[in-house]
Protein backbone atom coordinates (compact mmCIF):
# COMPACT_ATOMS: atom_id res chain seq x y z
CA UNK A 1 0.00 0.00 0.00
CA UNK A 2 1.33 3.39 -0.91
CA UNK A 3 1.18 5.53 2.19
CA UNK A 4 2.85 8.48 0.47
CA UNK A 5 0.23 8.52 -2.28
CA UNK A 6 -2.51 8.37 0.33
CA UNK A 7 -1.02 11.23 2.32
CA UNK A 8 -0.77 13.32 -0.84
CA UNK A 9 -4.42 12.56 -1.57
CA UNK A 10 -5.38 13.62 1.95
CA UNK A 11 -3.36 16.80 1.71
CA UNK A 12 -5.22 17.72 -1.48
CA UNK A 13 -8.73 16.69 -0.46
CA UNK A 14 -9.00 16.93 3.32
CA UNK A 15 -11.03 20.12 2.99
CA UNK A 16 -13.92 18.01 1.65
CA UNK A 17 -13.77 15.76 4.72
CA UNK A 18 -13.62 18.70 7.11
CA UNK A 19 -16.72 20.23 5.57
CA UNK A 20 -18.63 16.94 5.74
CA UNK A 21 -17.66 16.60 9.39
CA UNK A 22 -18.79 20.15 9.99
CA UNK A 23 -22.13 19.42 8.40
CA UNK A 24 -22.85 16.07 10.03
CA UNK A 25 -21.57 16.57 13.57
CA UNK A 26 -22.30 19.31 16.07
CA UNK A 27 -19.50 19.22 18.60
CA UNK A 28 -15.83 19.70 17.90
CA UNK A 29 -15.05 16.35 19.52
CA UNK A 30 -17.56 14.49 17.34
CA UNK A 31 -16.15 16.20 14.24
CA UNK A 32 -12.64 15.07 15.17
CA UNK A 33 -13.90 11.51 15.67
CA UNK A 34 -15.73 11.52 12.35
CA UNK A 35 -12.68 12.92 10.54
CA UNK A 36 -10.65 10.07 11.97
CA UNK A 37 -13.28 7.48 11.01
CA UNK A 38 -13.46 8.76 7.45
CA UNK A 39 -9.68 8.85 7.12
CA UNK A 40 -9.45 5.28 8.41
CA UNK A 41 -12.14 4.06 5.99
CA UNK A 42 -10.49 5.82 3.07
CA UNK A 43 -7.19 4.19 3.97
CA UNK A 44 -8.84 0.75 4.19
CA UNK A 45 -10.53 1.22 0.82
CA UNK A 46 -7.57 2.90 -0.89
CA UNK A 47 -6.07 -0.35 -2.29
CA UNK A 48 -9.41 -1.23 -3.92
CA UNK A 49 -9.65 2.10 -5.74
CA UNK A 50 -9.02 1.15 -9.37
CA UNK A 51 -9.46 4.52 -10.98
CA UNK A 52 -12.82 3.64 -12.58
CA UNK A 53 -14.19 6.91 -11.27
CA UNK A 54 -12.69 10.24 -10.30
CA UNK A 55 -10.77 10.14 -7.03
CA UNK A 56 -13.07 12.85 -5.68
CA UNK A 57 -16.14 10.70 -6.51
CA UNK A 58 -14.65 7.79 -4.58
CA UNK A 59 -13.71 10.07 -1.68
CA UNK A 60 -17.15 11.69 -1.44
CA UNK A 61 -18.84 8.27 -1.53
CA UNK A 62 -16.80 6.92 1.36
CA UNK A 63 -16.86 10.12 3.39
CA UNK A 64 -20.63 10.58 3.09
CA UNK A 65 -21.30 6.88 3.68
CA UNK A 66 -19.21 6.97 6.85
CA UNK A 67 -20.86 10.18 8.07
CA UNK A 68 -24.36 8.78 7.52
CA UNK A 69 -23.79 5.16 8.52
CA UNK A 70 -21.52 5.52 11.51
CA UNK A 71 -23.23 5.13 14.82
CA UNK A 72 -23.26 8.02 17.27
CA UNK A 73 -24.74 8.18 20.70
CA UNK A 74 -27.74 10.41 21.13
CA UNK A 75 -26.98 13.67 22.80
CA UNK A 76 -29.19 16.44 24.17
CA UNK A 77 -30.67 18.76 21.55
CA UNK A 78 -28.26 21.51 20.74
CA UNK A 79 -28.70 25.05 19.60
CA UNK A 80 -27.57 25.41 16.01
CA UNK A 81 -25.66 28.62 16.36
CA UNK A 82 -22.55 28.64 14.22
CA UNK A 83 -19.59 30.81 15.00
CA UNK A 84 -17.01 29.13 12.78
CA UNK A 85 -14.13 29.57 15.22
CA UNK A 86 -12.17 26.55 14.08
CA UNK A 87 -12.61 27.41 10.40
CA UNK A 88 -11.64 31.06 10.39
CA UNK A 89 -7.92 30.60 10.11
CA UNK A 90 -7.48 33.13 7.34
CA UNK A 91 -8.69 36.69 7.47
CA UNK A 92 -12.06 36.95 5.73
CA UNK A 93 -14.47 39.76 5.32
CA UNK A 94 -17.27 40.05 7.84
CA UNK A 95 -20.03 39.79 5.27
CA UNK A 96 -18.69 36.48 3.99
CA UNK A 97 -18.34 35.09 7.51
CA UNK A 98 -21.91 36.13 8.29
CA UNK A 99 -23.14 34.46 5.10
CA UNK A 100 -21.24 31.28 5.97
CA UNK A 101 -22.73 31.24 9.46
CA UNK A 102 -26.24 31.65 8.09
CA UNK A 103 -25.71 29.00 5.45
CA UNK A 104 -24.31 26.46 7.90
CA UNK A 105 -27.11 27.11 10.37
CA UNK A 106 -29.65 26.48 7.62
CA UNK A 107 -27.83 23.41 6.28
CA UNK A 108 -27.69 21.83 9.74
CA UNK A 109 -31.47 21.80 9.78
CA UNK A 110 -31.69 19.67 6.66
CA UNK A 111 -32.12 15.89 6.73
CA UNK A 112 -29.05 13.65 6.36
CA UNK A 113 -29.83 12.96 2.70
CA UNK A 114 -30.45 16.63 1.90
CA UNK A 115 -27.15 17.60 3.53
CA UNK A 116 -25.27 15.17 1.29
CA UNK A 117 -26.91 16.41 -1.90
CA UNK A 118 -26.56 20.12 -1.19
CA UNK A 119 -22.93 19.76 -0.08
CA UNK A 120 -22.10 18.15 -3.41
CA UNK A 121 -23.98 20.86 -5.28
CA UNK A 122 -22.30 23.68 -3.38
CA UNK A 123 -18.90 22.12 -4.05
CA UNK A 124 -19.71 22.74 -7.72
CA UNK A 125 -19.89 19.13 -8.78
CA UNK A 126 -21.74 18.48 -12.01
CA UNK A 127 -25.13 16.77 -11.93
CA UNK A 128 -23.46 13.78 -13.60
CA UNK A 129 -20.85 13.50 -10.87
CA UNK A 130 -23.46 13.92 -8.13
CA UNK A 131 -25.54 11.21 -9.80
CA UNK A 132 -22.49 8.91 -9.86
CA UNK A 133 -21.76 9.54 -6.19
CA UNK A 134 -25.34 8.91 -5.12
CA UNK A 135 -26.20 6.18 -7.63
CA UNK A 136 -29.30 7.89 -9.03
CA UNK A 137 -30.20 9.55 -12.35
CA UNK A 138 -29.14 13.09 -13.30
CA UNK A 139 -32.79 14.13 -13.62
CA UNK A 140 -33.49 12.95 -10.11
CA UNK A 141 -30.47 14.94 -8.90
CA UNK A 142 -31.84 18.08 -10.53
CA UNK A 143 -35.27 17.64 -8.96
CA UNK A 144 -33.81 17.07 -5.51
CA UNK A 145 -31.41 20.02 -5.74
CA UNK A 146 -34.21 22.38 -6.69
CA UNK A 147 -36.29 21.23 -3.73
CA UNK A 148 -33.40 21.58 -1.29
CA UNK A 149 -32.47 25.03 -2.63
CA UNK A 150 -36.04 26.18 -2.03
CA UNK A 151 -35.97 24.72 1.46
CA UNK A 152 -32.65 26.46 2.23
CA UNK A 153 -34.04 29.79 1.03
CA UNK A 154 -37.02 29.32 3.33
CA UNK A 155 -34.74 28.51 6.24
CA UNK A 156 -32.57 31.54 5.50
CA UNK A 157 -35.64 33.79 5.41
CA UNK A 158 -36.83 32.30 8.71
CA UNK A 159 -33.44 33.00 10.28
CA UNK A 160 -33.27 36.63 9.24
Amino acid sequence: MNETAFLTLMAEHQGIIHKICRLYRDSREDREDLFQEITFQLWKSFPSFKGNSLISTWLYRIALNTAIASYRKEKPTIDYVETLPEFAEEPQNEELILRQERLLTAMKQLSESEKAIIALYLDDLSYLQIAEILGISENNVGVKINRIKTKIQQLLIKES
Binding site: F6, E37, S48, R61, A69, S70, F87, A116, I133, G135
Partner: protein, 180 residues
Amino acid sequence: MNSDELKSAWKGIVPPTKTNEEIKLMLQENRHPVLKGIRKQLTIELLGWSAFLLCYYTMFDGATRPLSVNAILVAALVISIAHTLYGYALVKYPGNGDALTASLEKHISRIKLYAIGSLISRMCYAAGLLLFFTYSLEFTTAKYYSLAAIILVFIVQLAFLYRIWAKRLKGLSETLAGLS
Protein backbone atom coordinates in the same frame (compact mmCIF):
# COMPACT_ATOMS: atom_id res chain seq x y z
CA MET B 1 -28.95 34.34 -1.14
CA ASN B 2 -28.87 33.15 -4.71
CA SER B 3 -27.07 29.98 -5.86
CA ASP B 4 -23.79 31.75 -6.55
CA GLU B 5 -23.80 33.38 -3.13
CA LEU B 6 -24.55 30.04 -1.49
CA LYS B 7 -21.69 28.43 -3.36
CA SER B 8 -19.24 31.20 -2.61
CA ALA B 9 -20.17 31.09 1.08
CA TRP B 10 -19.69 27.32 1.16
CA LYS B 11 -16.44 27.36 -0.78
CA GLY B 12 -15.17 30.28 1.26
CA ILE B 13 -15.15 28.20 4.44
CA VAL B 14 -11.49 27.69 5.26
CA PRO B 15 -11.08 24.27 6.87
CA PRO B 16 -8.32 23.52 9.38
CA THR B 17 -5.39 21.49 8.06
CA LYS B 18 -4.18 18.19 9.43
CA THR B 19 -0.48 17.48 9.08
CA ASN B 20 0.83 14.27 7.53
CA GLU B 21 1.87 13.11 10.98
CA GLU B 22 -1.65 13.58 12.32
CA ILE B 23 -3.11 11.72 9.32
CA LYS B 24 -0.62 8.86 9.75
CA LEU B 25 -1.76 8.36 13.33
CA MET B 26 -5.36 8.17 12.16
CA LEU B 27 -4.53 5.20 9.91
CA GLN B 28 -3.90 3.01 12.94
CA GLU B 29 -6.75 0.74 13.93
CA ASN B 30 -6.15 1.31 17.64
CA ARG B 31 -6.83 5.03 17.20
CA HIS B 32 -10.27 4.57 15.60
CA PRO B 33 -12.77 6.11 18.05
CA VAL B 34 -15.60 3.58 17.57
CA LEU B 35 -13.37 0.52 17.30
CA LYS B 36 -11.55 1.65 20.43
CA GLY B 37 -14.88 1.67 22.29
CA ILE B 38 -15.86 -1.79 21.05
CA ARG B 39 -12.43 -3.18 21.96
CA LYS B 40 -12.82 -1.77 25.47
CA GLN B 41 -16.28 -3.37 25.77
CA LEU B 42 -14.94 -6.67 24.43
CA THR B 43 -12.04 -6.67 26.90
CA ILE B 44 -14.37 -6.02 29.83
CA GLU B 45 -16.79 -8.73 28.62
CA LEU B 46 -14.00 -11.24 28.07
CA LEU B 47 -12.43 -10.58 31.47
CA GLY B 48 -15.80 -10.73 33.22
CA TRP B 49 -16.96 -13.92 31.53
CA SER B 50 -13.56 -15.58 31.88
CA ALA B 51 -13.65 -14.87 35.60
CA PHE B 52 -17.21 -16.19 35.76
CA LEU B 53 -16.41 -19.33 33.77
CA LEU B 54 -13.34 -19.98 35.90
CA CYS B 55 -15.26 -20.05 39.12
CA TYR B 56 -18.87 -20.94 38.23
CA TYR B 57 -18.16 -24.67 38.19
CA THR B 58 -17.29 -24.73 41.88
CA MET B 59 -18.79 -21.53 43.28
CA PHE B 60 -22.16 -21.78 41.53
CA ASP B 61 -22.42 -25.55 41.63
CA GLY B 62 -21.74 -26.07 37.94
CA ALA B 63 -20.37 -29.50 38.86
CA THR B 64 -23.75 -30.64 40.19
CA ARG B 65 -25.69 -29.61 37.08
CA PRO B 66 -26.02 -31.74 33.93
CA LEU B 67 -23.49 -31.25 31.15
CA SER B 68 -26.23 -29.94 28.85
CA VAL B 69 -27.08 -27.08 31.25
CA ASN B 70 -23.39 -26.15 31.55
CA ALA B 71 -22.99 -26.33 27.79
CA ILE B 72 -26.01 -24.04 27.24
CA LEU B 73 -24.57 -21.46 29.67
CA VAL B 74 -21.16 -21.48 27.99
CA ALA B 75 -22.77 -21.32 24.52
CA ALA B 76 -24.87 -18.32 25.59
CA LEU B 77 -21.74 -16.45 26.70
CA VAL B 78 -19.83 -17.41 23.56
CA ILE B 79 -22.72 -16.18 21.39
CA SER B 80 -22.67 -12.85 23.21
CA ILE B 81 -18.92 -12.40 22.65
CA ALA B 82 -19.16 -13.55 19.02
CA HIS B 83 -21.85 -10.96 18.46
CA THR B 84 -19.61 -8.17 19.79
CA LEU B 85 -16.84 -9.39 17.45
CA TYR B 86 -19.27 -9.24 14.52
CA GLY B 87 -20.06 -5.64 15.51
CA TYR B 88 -16.36 -4.87 15.42
CA ALA B 89 -16.06 -6.24 11.88
CA LEU B 90 -19.15 -4.29 10.86
CA VAL B 91 -17.59 -1.00 11.92
CA LYS B 92 -14.20 -1.87 10.48
CA TYR B 93 -15.46 -2.67 6.97
CA PRO B 94 -18.54 -0.52 6.31
CA GLY B 95 -18.20 0.01 2.54
CA ASN B 96 -15.80 0.01 -0.35
CA GLY B 97 -16.62 3.05 -2.41
CA ASP B 98 -19.85 1.94 -4.11
CA ALA B 99 -22.45 4.58 -4.93
CA LEU B 100 -23.96 5.99 -1.75
CA THR B 101 -27.41 4.45 -2.23
CA ALA B 102 -25.93 0.99 -2.88
CA SER B 103 -23.60 1.29 0.14
CA LEU B 104 -26.46 2.35 2.37
CA GLU B 105 -28.67 -0.49 1.16
CA LYS B 106 -25.92 -2.95 2.03
CA HIS B 107 -25.32 -1.25 5.33
CA ILE B 108 -29.01 -1.39 6.26
CA SER B 109 -29.13 -5.14 5.49
CA ARG B 110 -26.07 -5.74 7.64
CA ILE B 111 -27.44 -3.59 10.47
CA LYS B 112 -30.74 -5.49 10.32
CA LEU B 113 -28.86 -8.75 10.68
CA TYR B 114 -26.80 -7.29 13.48
CA ALA B 115 -29.90 -6.01 15.27
CA ILE B 116 -31.60 -9.41 15.03
CA GLY B 117 -28.39 -11.02 16.26
CA SER B 118 -28.28 -8.52 19.08
CA LEU B 119 -31.77 -9.47 20.25
CA ILE B 120 -31.14 -13.19 19.85
CA SER B 121 -27.81 -13.09 21.68
CA ARG B 122 -29.41 -11.14 24.53
CA MET B 123 -32.23 -13.72 24.73
CA CYS B 124 -29.76 -16.62 24.67
CA TYR B 125 -27.73 -14.93 27.36
CA ALA B 126 -30.78 -14.39 29.58
CA ALA B 127 -32.13 -17.90 28.93
CA GLY B 128 -28.72 -19.49 29.58
CA LEU B 129 -28.26 -17.70 32.89
CA LEU B 130 -31.83 -18.35 34.03
CA LEU B 131 -31.68 -22.02 33.11
CA PHE B 132 -28.37 -22.44 34.90
CA PHE B 133 -29.39 -20.70 38.09
CA THR B 134 -32.91 -22.10 38.32
CA TYR B 135 -32.08 -25.68 37.37
CA SER B 136 -32.96 -28.08 40.20
CA LEU B 137 -34.19 -25.16 42.28
CA GLU B 138 -37.15 -25.97 44.46
CA PHE B 139 -39.70 -23.31 43.65
CA THR B 140 -41.83 -21.60 46.27
CA THR B 141 -44.34 -18.81 45.63
CA ALA B 142 -41.75 -16.18 46.58
CA LYS B 143 -39.22 -17.70 44.21
CA TYR B 144 -41.78 -17.72 41.40
CA TYR B 145 -42.37 -14.01 41.99
CA SER B 146 -38.62 -13.35 41.97
CA LEU B 147 -38.24 -15.29 38.75
CA ALA B 148 -41.11 -13.34 37.19
CA ALA B 149 -39.47 -10.06 38.23
CA ILE B 150 -36.11 -11.11 36.72
CA ILE B 151 -37.82 -12.18 33.48
CA LEU B 152 -39.64 -8.86 33.40
CA VAL B 153 -36.33 -6.98 33.72
CA PHE B 154 -34.92 -8.98 30.79
CA ILE B 155 -38.05 -8.29 28.72
CA VAL B 156 -37.82 -4.55 29.42
CA GLN B 157 -34.14 -4.61 28.40
CA LEU B 158 -35.05 -6.41 25.19
CA ALA B 159 -37.81 -3.90 24.47
CA PHE B 160 -35.34 -1.02 24.91
CA LEU B 161 -32.83 -2.75 22.68
CA TYR B 162 -35.49 -3.32 20.04
CA ARG B 163 -36.51 0.34 20.19
CA ILE B 164 -32.93 1.54 19.76
CA TRP B 165 -32.37 -0.65 16.70
CA ALA B 166 -35.77 0.12 15.19
CA LYS B 167 -35.06 3.85 15.51
CA ARG B 168 -31.59 3.48 14.00
CA LEU B 169 -32.91 1.44 11.07
CA LYS B 170 -35.76 3.85 10.50
CA GLY B 171 -33.30 6.77 10.35
CA LEU B 172 -31.07 4.96 7.85
CA SER B 173 -34.04 3.89 5.72
CA GLU B 174 -35.34 7.47 5.64
CA THR B 175 -31.92 8.72 4.54
CA LEU B 176 -31.82 6.08 1.81
CA ALA B 177 -35.31 7.03 0.66
CA GLY B 178 -34.26 10.69 0.59
CA LEU B 179 -31.29 9.87 -1.61
CA SER B 180 -33.07 7.49 -4.00
